[in-house]
């Protein structure tokens, strides 16, 4: 709730200006106590008396005089905006270079934003105002409970000169809900305390105060001599010739059903990807800071008459995002929140989000909103440096943020980083964040600010240097990684990872492999033999069908020759198997197979020659069959045995 108060240093130059000590005691002006309802309010009397007390001793009045003061306080939302236009005249002899603006303790606590602008001479045209720097000061001898800001004038104000100063101050959370707890059906009443005359170290000639209310409903307000309530405005004044440090406390107690949306904490993370995207992630910790709801919450009443039973609640928030925002999401820690809407045109993207439940007074909620923005809209190149130019505050309308943290995540490898924010902030630091495939981490600029109001939604700049080559670092790393992986695979497939090359088990394994190949070859040969046998059989059948003796004999010849070749092939294999120690178990089977096959072959030849002979002799079919029958039987038995054996030696 603190405002920008970080550098309070004593300011010497005031002593000259604050010269004489003319005092006015203002006791008579305390409370006229008009309305009996006013007694409900507890006035900050102590501060008030103290104020008057301190004025006795402080050398408060300078040669400056405010000739005309017009103050407008806008109470239409939960953020209080006051605009003061002061016409300052220098009646003294010395020229003056600064104007002091004091704030009471309460005001200072909730002061969120302050600007001052100067209109030259008597120019009332608004265009001619330009803003002037403000700085917090701590003039000596003044009441320590007051907080001072000084407006330094560009041109010194000479004797008799006048200047129009416009001071805009925005106060967050200065409204007090009263009563503090209401039921669902009640309207929300808030009270606002101010002084009818402007707190100033200078004498004021004429002053006027206008308080603007959201609707023309007021519970009560302090009635002074010259006060007027009309429409939704309350006017105090004009008052004339008011002494420095005068104060007439007033209280306005009125209906304000505006959403009191306050983010206790907001973390905005802005991540820049030079591949073309700025990713913004905002996590809110939201609370309805108005009057707390007490008693039942009835959904029935709320749904039936949402504007009566639930007038103080707010259902949704509208965020104004930059144009071309994409990939918008809205979720919380337990998942997506499905109640949101997006409208977009060429100048903005409107995002309407609805928290999971209607926000009544005192209810809290937290959620995350994220969106992507096109990089070229926000990143610019200037003087060899890249400059990010993006808004600082939150895009939601009328949200007060108590603690705002803005993190700008720059791409890995950026350096020479500097940030510039158009208003003072609490803290600026740097950290590192590790994200996808980072080696050294991405630099993160962290900016922290308290009490942020929509007025802070100005653009700020972060400049850094980044070489485009760094952009390729991660893809290259990936390519290299995969390349290494494949190389490792190839190496593994080709390398023999046996630990001991001379161990007996390794050798025997090698031998066993050899035996296996030999056996496989052996089986191949055997299979081919069997195929030739089948062919011979087939030729015999052809013979019986066509009676073509010549082809049959030719087939026989061919078979003979191939079988011979095969037996030749077989010999080295067999000798290898016999010599190998690993094959001893298999050897008998192999031998048996060979002999059986030989026998089968013989029988088959026998059959073949018998049949061909019979054909040559032109014997009858039945006769041939009789002659062959016994051989055929043996053949089929042998064939079966050979098949079985082949299966057995299969390893």
């Amino acid at each position: 709730m603190q405002c920008d108060l970080c550098i309070l240093k004593p300011h010497q130059s005031h002593q000259s200006q604050i010269s004489s000590s003319v005092h006015y005691l203002l006791v008579t002006e305390i409370i006229s106590a008009a309305d009996p309802k006013m007694k409900r309010f507890r006035f900050d009397l102590s501060l008030f008396i103290l104020l008057g007390f301190c004025m006795l001793f402080s050398p408060a009045v300078s040669s400056l005089v405010i000739s005309q003061l017009d103050r407008k306080i806008d109470l239409s939302s939960h953020i209080v905006r006051s605009t003061v236009s002061l016409k300052v005249e220098n009646n003294g002899d010395d020229s003056v270079s600064e104007v002091l603006l004091p704030f009471t303790e309460k005001q200072a606590k909730s002061l969120a934003f302050l600007t001052a602008s100067i209109g030259e001479g008597k120019g009332k045209a608004k265009g001619s105002f330009d803003s002037v720097p403000l700085k917090p000061v701590n003039p000596e001898g003044m009441n320590p409970k007051l907080t001072w800001y000084s407006v330094s004038l560009r041109k010194e104000l000479l004797k008799g000169g006048s200047i129009t100063l416009e001071v805009k101050a925005v106060y967050a959370q200065i409204l007090r809900p009263f009563p503090e707890k209401i039921t669902q059906a009640d309207v929300q009443l808030v009270s606002f305390e101010e002084s009818a005359c402007y707190l100033s170290p200078y004498a004021v000639n004429v002053q006027l105060l206008t308080v603007k209310l959201p609707e023309p409903k007021v519970e009560s307000y302090t009635k002074l001599d010259i006060s007027k309530f009309s429409g939704s405005e309350i006017k105090y004044g004009p008052y004339e010739n008011i002494a420095p440090f005068s104060s007439i406390p007033i209280t306005v107690h009125y209906v304000n059903n505006h959403p009191f949306s306050v983010a206790r904490e907001l973390v905005r993370e802005i991540e820049i990807s030079h591949w073309g995207n700025v990713q913004v992630t905002e996590s809110y910790n939201l609370v309805h800071a108005g009057a707390e709801i007490t008693g039942e919450f009835s959904r029935l009443d709320y749904q039936a008459r949402p504007h009566v039973r639930g007038a103080s609640a707010f259902r949704n928030l509208v965020a104004k995002l930059p144009p071309r925002a994409h990939s918008i999401y809205f979720r919380d820690e337990i998942g997506n929140i499905s109640t949101s809407n997006v409208w977009s045109d060429s100048t903005k993207t409107l995002l309407e989000i609805e928290p999971r439940y209607p926000m009544f007074g005192g209810w809290r909620s937290s959620f995350t909103v994220g969106y992507g923005l096109p990089l070229q809209d926000f990143l610019f190149l200037s003087e060899g440096k890249r400059v990010l130019d993006i808004s600082f505050g939150c895009p939601m309308n009328e949200v007060v943020i108590e603690n705002l943290t803005v993190k700008i995540v720059l791409p890995e490898g950026s350096n020479d980083i500097s940030a510039s924010v158009p208003f003072p902030i609490e803290q600026q630091s740097q950290e590192t964040k590790f994200s996808h495939l980072d080696m050294v981490g991405r630099p993160v600029v962290v900016l922290e600010k308290k009490n942020v109001v929509p007025e802070h939604n100005q653009h700020f700049q972060v400049s850094y240097q980044f070489s485009n080559l760094s952009l390729l670092r991660e893809p290259i790393m990936l390519v290299f990684g995969f390349f290494l992986f494949f190389v490792a695979c190839i190496a593994y497939a080709h390398a023999d990872l046996t630990i001991s090359k001379s161990s007996s088990s390794y050798l025997s394994k090698l031998q066993w492999d050899e035996v296996q190949t030999a056996i496989q070859q052996f089986q191949n040969v055997m299979n081919r033999c069997l195929i030739i046998h089948d062919k011979l059989e087939a030729s015999l059948r052809d013979l019986s069908r066509t009676g073509d003796l010549q082809t049959c004999k030719a087939a026989r010849k061919a078979a003979d020759s191939t079988l011979k070749e095969l037996s030749k092939e077989l010999k080295p294999l067999l000798s290898f198997l016999q010599s190998s120690s690993q094959a001893t178990q298999l050897l008998p089977k192999v031998d048996e197979l060979v002999s059986k096959e030989k026998e089968l072959q013989e029988k088959l030849m026998l059959k073949h020659s018998t049949v061909t002979d019979s054909y040559e002799k032109k014997s009858g079919g039945r006769e041939i069959e009789n002659r062959v029958a016994s051989i055929q039987q043996k053949i089929s038995v042998l064939r079966q045995e050979v098949d079985d054996l082949l299966e057995v030696i299969d390893i």
């Binding site: 039942e296 009835s298 109640t339 492999d513 191949n524 195929i531 089948d534 069908r545 299969d650």
Partner: protein, 770 residues
């Protein structure tokens, strides 16, 4: 004709085959992963249902505090005021897996949230599971069957139902662990390698970590071992496959806190020890048989049998006495209801009240395994020709899992992989036969068209077949790298060589058959995709309905949990029926009285009793439990059928089981459960009715309940001890706060009770939490 091929080209061909099958496996993995993403695409990346929320919460704790704190975690957010020792009562496999995954990813600087990792654990592991199915089926029937089985498993609806993205439950990793353990067992059985036996024990350990279903493994494998012994298939390979598994597996299993000494003390594990004994006896017998002459052996057998019988009887007697002394005979309730399907409904209403513990109906078989149900018998036949150790295991697996799935819907999940493996074998065998017939027919037609008649053609066809076969075998032999693979295929090929003489079908028939099979497969795919997209992807915490004006989202549960999370005190206690316990602790981060763990029947019965009592009695029960909010789920406004009113009879039953003053008949009118004007006064005055229908009549003036399709019985009433604090947008969740007792200062006579409770209350208020 059978010219030996150039060895180089054949090597290349096999390398190509390998690459192709790896590529196919990769695609199967992608398929398994992506078919489970429907839930993320249609809804969002969110944890589903009930139990996954607990697992998610445990994982968050694990990641936040580390493994050691996780083991010692005493959770005071549940079962208030008892609490729960999480480290000792959860199967940590899933949590540790996801935690490790997250750690690895984060150490590689890939910043994924815990939730994302949890959501995608199940799809990742289903890809692993389909690869494991490939390995297992390959061991049983070769590569082709393996690939088919993997493809089937990748999209079997039954498994999808438990492993869609977001379904972060034990089963997601357990099915992978189950199949992988079986693969390693079969692999050990085929190779006799101790290396695989050790790996098998490790896989078993992982399974024990992951799911209570590990008892299925530790009973199925002994059964198979016993089967092998009985059918005379004992070998040293069998011994190596079994003995290390029992010894190492039991040791490792007892390291898991939730199992501990149960690994040796409960009946679920006794079968394995018995078979362990048997296999040693058999091994001894085989050894003795080898060193003794046949006569001597006979003498020895009679001696040992007589002595052994006496010892066995004695041991058995002791065992039975031990087991009989424990009330449940050493079996847990869920296991007992497996053996006796009517057990749970008779004795344990909590087990019976869970719909997934009910026996399945026939349509649910068709829904969950679809055409696989028809393919399984064919696959079993294929396993019998020829019957090897591995294929007998597959047969045993399918037979037992069919039985178990018939007992509990939940165990359909165990059936699914078995059905996929068997169907994969069936499909692959069928395609094998059919394509081969087409191939040789085709060869015939093109090469010897003039011979295409009578038995000659048949013969020459056989020749061709043999040629091809020998060619095949040649190629296989020449490739040394593929020896192991070649072995199996060669075996198959020799057998099929014999079979082929019989199994060559006519061209047209086989063509049509292939077409029909492809059609069958297509139906399966269509059904699976439909099941994944429509039936099983709803996360159940977000409901959607399509009406004429588009999609309507019912996000009431999270609305309520979100409200509780942000707008109540951290230490407030929330009472609800146990279904919502896990979600409340995980999403609302509030202490609950009972949750889905259901370990304490009395506590659940207390909540059930409170819900079925009149307001005052309920208030007293809740107040004694320090409850501040009561949450009820009410579907009457929008027609959400699984609300608390529909579950209410179970609350009455469970409550009545412990507190006899709650009687079920009091809530029923003529045996009928109703809430309209015919309902009993007990029903109309109980807390559940009141909290559900409070001010409901004002919505439409009649109080028409859209779930029960009737007007409610008691329409206008006020709550005296509770006040409504939150109701969600569609009224699906209503939260009430207990009112503080009325401040009554009256004569001294009535002081005793109220003052006592008031002082208690004010004492609570002074609690230093505020």
């Amino acid at each position: 004709m059978a010219a030996p091929e150039n060895p180089q080209t054949s090597t290349l061909r096999y390398a190509f085959g390998n690459v192709l099958s790896i590529f196919i496996l990769l695609l199967i993995g992608v398929l398994a992963f992506s078919i489970r993403l429907f839930s993320v695409i249609k809804y969002e990346s969110v944890i589903h249902e009930f139990d996954p929320y607990f697992n998610y919460r445990v994982t968050q704790y694990l990641i936040k505090t580390g493994v050691y704190d996780f083991w010692n975690w005493f959770d005071d957010r549940t079962w208030y005021p008892l609490g729960r020792v999480i480290g000792g009562t959860v199967y940590p496999g899933l949590t540790l897996t996801a935690g490790a995954l997250w750690k690895i990813l984060n150490s590689l600087n890939i910043p994924l949230s815990v939730e994302t990792v949890c959501v995608f654990t199940a799809p990742i592991f289903s890809a692993f599971a389909s690869w494991a199915a490939y390995l297992l089926t390959k061991e049983v029937k070769g590569v082709g069957a393996g690939l088919t089985a993997a493809a089937l498993l990748a999209m079997v609806p039954s498994y999808i139902s438990r492993s869609v993205a977001g379904s972060y439950d034990n089963e997601a990793v357990a099915i992978f662990a189950l199949i992988f353990t079986f693969y390693l067992y079969v692999k050990t059985l085929n190779t006799g390698s101790l290396f695989y036996a050790t790996l098998n024990a490790m896989a078993y350990f992982y399974m024990v970590c992951s799911w209570g279903g590990y008892t299925f493994i530790i009973n199925l494998i002994p059964m198979h071992v016993l089967l092998c012994i009985v059918t005379g298939r004992y070998s040293s390979r069998l011994y190596i496959a079994y003995a290390p598994l029992v010894v190492l597996g039991t040791l490792l299993a007892s390291l898991v806190p939730v199992v501990g000494f149960n690994a040796v003390m409960t009946s679920e594990h006794f079968a394995s020890f018995l078979v362990f004994l048997v296999i040693h006896v058999v091994a001894l017998v085989y050894y003795v048989k080898g060193i003794l002459t046949p006569q001597m052996f006979k003498v020895a057998v009679t001696l040992i049998v007589s002595v052994g019988l006496i010892v066995c009887v004695a041991v058995l007697a002791v065992l039975i006495a031990l087991v009989a002394s424990s009330p449940t005979k050493g079996w847990s309730g869920r296991s007992l209801s497996l053996l006796d399907p009517t057990y749970a409904s008779k004795y344990i209403p909590i087990i019976a009240s869970v719909s997934e513990h009910q026996p399945p109906t026939w349509p649910s078989y068709f829904m969950d395994i679809n055409v696989l149900a028809f393919l399984v018998p064919a696959g079993i036949i294929a396993c019998f020709s020829p019957l090897s150790d591995a294929s007998s295991f597959a047969v045993l697996y399918i037979v037992t899992s069919v039985y178990f799935s018939g007992v509990m819907v939940r165990l359909m999940l165990v059936l699914a992989p078995a059905a996929c493996i068997i169907s994969g074998i069936a499909l692959s065998e069928a395609f094998d036969v059919l394509t081969r017939s087409i191939k040789y027919q085709f060869h015939d037609k093109t090469e010897n068209p003039q011979l295409n008649s009578g038995d000659t053609s048949n013969n020459s066809r056989t020749d061709e077949v043999k040629m091809e076969k020998s060619e095949d075998s040649l190629k296989e032999r020449s490739s040394r790298k593929n020896k192991k693979k070649a072995k199996e295929t060669e075996k198959a090929s020799v057998i099929s060589q014999i079979e082929q003489r019989l199994l060559v079908l006519p061209f047209e028939a086989s063509f049509i058959a292939i077409f029909l099979l492809i059609l069958l497969g297509a139906f399966y795919v269509v059904h699976s995709v439909w099941a994944a997209a429509e039936a099983y992807s709803a996360p159940s915490i977000v409901l959607t309905s399509r009406s004429h004006d588009g999609l309507h989202v019912f996000d009431d549960f999270r609305e309520a949990y979100g409200w509780l999370r942000h707008n109540t005190e951290v230490d407030d206690k929330v009472a609800s029926w146990w279904d919502y316990g896990y979600q409340t602790t995980a999403m609302a981060n509030r202490t609950v009285i009972v949750d889905n763990n259901t370990w304490n029947n009395t506590h659940i019965a207390t909540v059930g009793t409170a819900m079925s009592s009149p307001e005052k009695a309920a208030w007293e029960i809740f107040n004694s439990l320090d409850v501040k909010y009561v949450l009820v789920v009410f579907g009457g406004l929008v027609g959400y059928p699984s609300d608390d009113i529909n579950k209410f009879l179970w609350m009455v039953r469970i409550g009545g089981g412990v507190f006899p003053h709650i009687k079920e008949p009091d809530y029923l009118r003529d045996g009928q459960y109703r809430i309209d004007s015919q309902a009993t006064p007990t029903m109309l005055n109980c807390l559940m009715y009141k909290l559900s229908y409070y001010r409901f009549v004002e919505t439409d003036g009649k109080g028409y309940d859209r779930v029960r399709h009737t007007e409610i019985g008691k329409k206008y009433f006020k709550l005296t001890h509770f006040e409504e604090v939150f109701t969600t947008h569609h009224w699906m969740v209503r939260i009430y706060k207990l009112k503080p007792p009325r401040n009554r200062i009256r004569g001294k006579t009535k002081k005793s009770k109220t003052v006592k409770s008031y002082s208690k209350r004010s004492g609570a208020k002074k609690n230093p939490w505020h």
